[in-house]
Amino acid sequence: MMEPILDISGLNLSFTTYGKRTQVLHDVSLRVGKGERVALIGQSGSGKTVTMRAIIGTLPIPPAKIEGGVIQFEGRDLLQMAKVERNRLKGTGISIIMQDPLLSFNPVLTIGRQMDDIVRYADVRLGSKRNSGLRKATILDTLQKVRLPDGAQIYDAYPMMLSGGMRQRVLIAMALLNKPRLLIADEPGTALDVTTQKEILKLLNQLVKEENLSLLLITHNLGVVREISDRVYVMENGHIVEEATRKDIFEQPRHAYTKKLMTSVLPLYGKRVRNFENNRQSDPKIEIQGVTKEFRGKVSFFSKKYRVVRAVDNVNLQIENGDIFGIAGESGSGKTTLAKMLLALHSPTDGQIKIDGRPLSNFSNSREFRRLIQIVYQNPGSSLNPKRTVTQALTVPLKFCGYDSTQIKSRISELLDMVDLPKSYASMYPHELSGGQKQRVAIARALSVNPKILVLDEPTSALDVLIQNTVIELLLRLREELNLTYVFISHDLSLMRNFCNRVAIMFRGQICEQGETREIFTDPQHAYTRALLSSIPVISEQEEQQKPKVTDAERQAVLASSTALK
């Protein structure tokens, strides 16, 4: 075994909230060798972020309390170290890459200023001093390292002028500014689109090699782990339940929890893939004919000029009765705008949408229309009113569709039954429910007035992977029982492969490819589809082999690069 740079042993940690003590970490032991890439995986709430914060010393104490254990960094115990000394290691010894590149910047300061602060304060801590010219040289040099060629331009740019991928690169550069020896990455790239995420992971791998870094990766995404680690620790409820090399963990997981995590990852190719067929009689439920949506914004208050953004551009789709129709695309591709037009929340600038054979304009928000099509939102935390109980949430659509109070009552208990929630939940508030349960309530609300079509706007992306599968099972069952048609909007192509019978890929407002799911995934025609599919992190070598191949030139042609200024 390599000489360890970070060696945690027997770490016990508890939180005391509202007078009640909860042990969060149980005897956690973890080692990162010099030059090694170690991944710490687990579901949300398993304690991985707490572990990370214990290492970098940003836990609020109290309520947190370290009850025992040693965190050794290069042979010295961080927990015993004087505060001044520990501070000196910040950025120079241990550095961290934050999770969300969109939220980790101060929007009113230039990138250069924010990076300069990091160098300057590290100098202060170390008692050295560099002049501003030298500091700028260091910064430009580091930007070069993360493959951002226009360093000088980025230095003067404000965060909002950079794309998500570029901001992620700048965040990585910030972590590298003071030449750390251990880099901690918290869910790197998961806030970004898959194609950008792929580039970021590649960059991290290169940097670890070039800069001779050690890497501790914290993630819940097994696909990411496969691309960027040498050794893996699996965490469940504050316990390390398994430790193995990357090869072993994917080929022969030992612990039941690890196995469960593995099987919950949906396959993209291979035998485990579920092919979903629609065997109902063909009968078009939704027809989208040449639909275009433009948003106009005034350039400035006094100007008469308008800036036109074409979010959806001449889209034609036909969705049959019983279809689970997937609309895939990255952020900004126009898929959500399309969904909102289906629900008549936006009206198309051009073209026509027919639902159940009738043009949307014939309905005009009537009860009849609401009984035909409903939506389940991405984030149940936002789509359920925090101040209203489950019963109150479910009552709204019923009341406005003309149910009387006794009917409402019996319908609510029927609905809770339908989505497998106990009746006692009727009086609970959303914050008393888990994410999966909230999403069940949201599904129940959408189904309350017996619609024929459900629009599912990334219904599982806010949920943990294990819970995601139970929600998908529920949706499949309900489709059978209630004879539903789904329009499934997502960026998660693995999920789409296993859930939809037909898919359409959206790219910059247009449908670039559509057809039977199996055909699209095995033989994608459009370069963008191929680039997208090849970027999805998978968990086995066989799947890796079956992904479509894209040349760099093709990739450049279709993807917005994460290194060039907008």
Binding site: P386, T470, E473
Partner: protein
């Protein structure tokens, strides 16, 4: 089938109300504030029973005990016509609190409804309501109050009207800001998709999310309304003598400074006490409910 991990997270040992109470209890300032507010309210309600000489509240004269300094008999001393200042202070609280109830009873619903309308409908409605609010905010409050009371003749009710006309603006702005932020939450759109009416979305969906901010604001407001009312009557635009009003008492008492200092100081301290209570309570509620006002 529901996953075990899903079940586990609903295990709870405290309801949200209990948690809020826990935070409140741990906050000494909030507890002091609550105690003060309760004591002021109790004193005001039971003033005729609690006061040592209820007749002092009216046009009672006792020249034998003029300008009597604070003592065991007269806790806060007596004024220029021999009335017990302590009695007048607790009767003064009655006036102050009825002013608070009157002002906030009109200003809050009015301001909240305008804020809801502006935030929910946006566009032209928002422009008209919010610009009108801005115009009202631009008028110096004291000048406005002076103008109104000058036209309507000074009395408690007219002072109330004057303060109300200025006070709703702050609630409009507060609610507007909250509603505007809430509008981007999916639950608003979800309610629209469910076919809910505008009134339902405004009052049943959005308003409950403003309640905690409103209650904090009301608590903080109460102190300022008392202060503003006292300022008006200090200037002679509020309640008429001999009705015991804290502002008037400070004003009359100040004529006898410095030798009979208690006559201005005691009512002044009484104002301070009440305002301090409402502000501490408001701050405590804000910490407890975690809202920005």
């Amino acid at each position: 089938m529901i996953e075990l991990s899903e079940q586990a997270s609903t295990e709870r040992f405290m309801t949200s109300r209990q948690m809020a109470w826990f935070r409140f209890r741990r906050n000494p300032a909030a507890l002091i504030g609550a105690t003060i507010v309760i004591s002021v309210t109790m004193l005001a309600i039971f003033a005729p029973i609690l006061s040592p000489s209820p007749q002092s509240a009216g046009s009672f004269v006792d020249f034998a005990h003029r300008h009597h300094p604070p003592s065991a008999e007269f806790w806060f001393g007596t004024d220029n016509v021999g009335r017990d200042i302590f009695t007048r202070v607790i009767f003064g609280y009655r006036i102050s609190l009825s002013l608070v109830v009157g002002v906030l009873g009109f200003a809050v619903p009015f301001g909240v409804i305008l804020g809801l309308l502006a935030g929910y409908f946006g566009g032209r409605t928002e422009f008209i309501i919010m610009r009108f609010t801005d115009v009202m905010l631009a008028i110096p409050p004291l000048a406005m109050a002076l103008a109104i009371t000058a036209v309507l003749s000074p009395s408690l009710v007219n002072a109330m009207i004057a303060i109300t006309m200025l006070w709703w603006t702050w609630h409009t702005r507060l609610i507007f800001r909250i509603v505007k932020a809430q509008m981007s939450e999916d639950y608003v759109e979800a309610a629209k998709v469910a076919g809910a009416s505008h009134a339902h979305i405004m009052f049943k969906e959005l308003l409950p999310n403003c309640i905690s901010a409103i209650s904090v604001k009301i608590s903080l407001d109460a102190g300022f309304v008392i202060l503003f009312g006292a300022a008006l009557s200090f200037l002679g635009l509020g309640v008429h003598p001999p009705t015991p009003d804290l502002g008037t008492m400070v004003s009359t008492g100040s004529e006898y400074l410095p030798e009979f200092w208690w006559e201005a100081l005691m009512p002044g301290l009484a104002i301070l006490y009440a305002i301090l209570g409402f502000n501490l309570l408001g701050d405590g509620l804000r910490d407890m409910m975690d809202v920005e006002v």
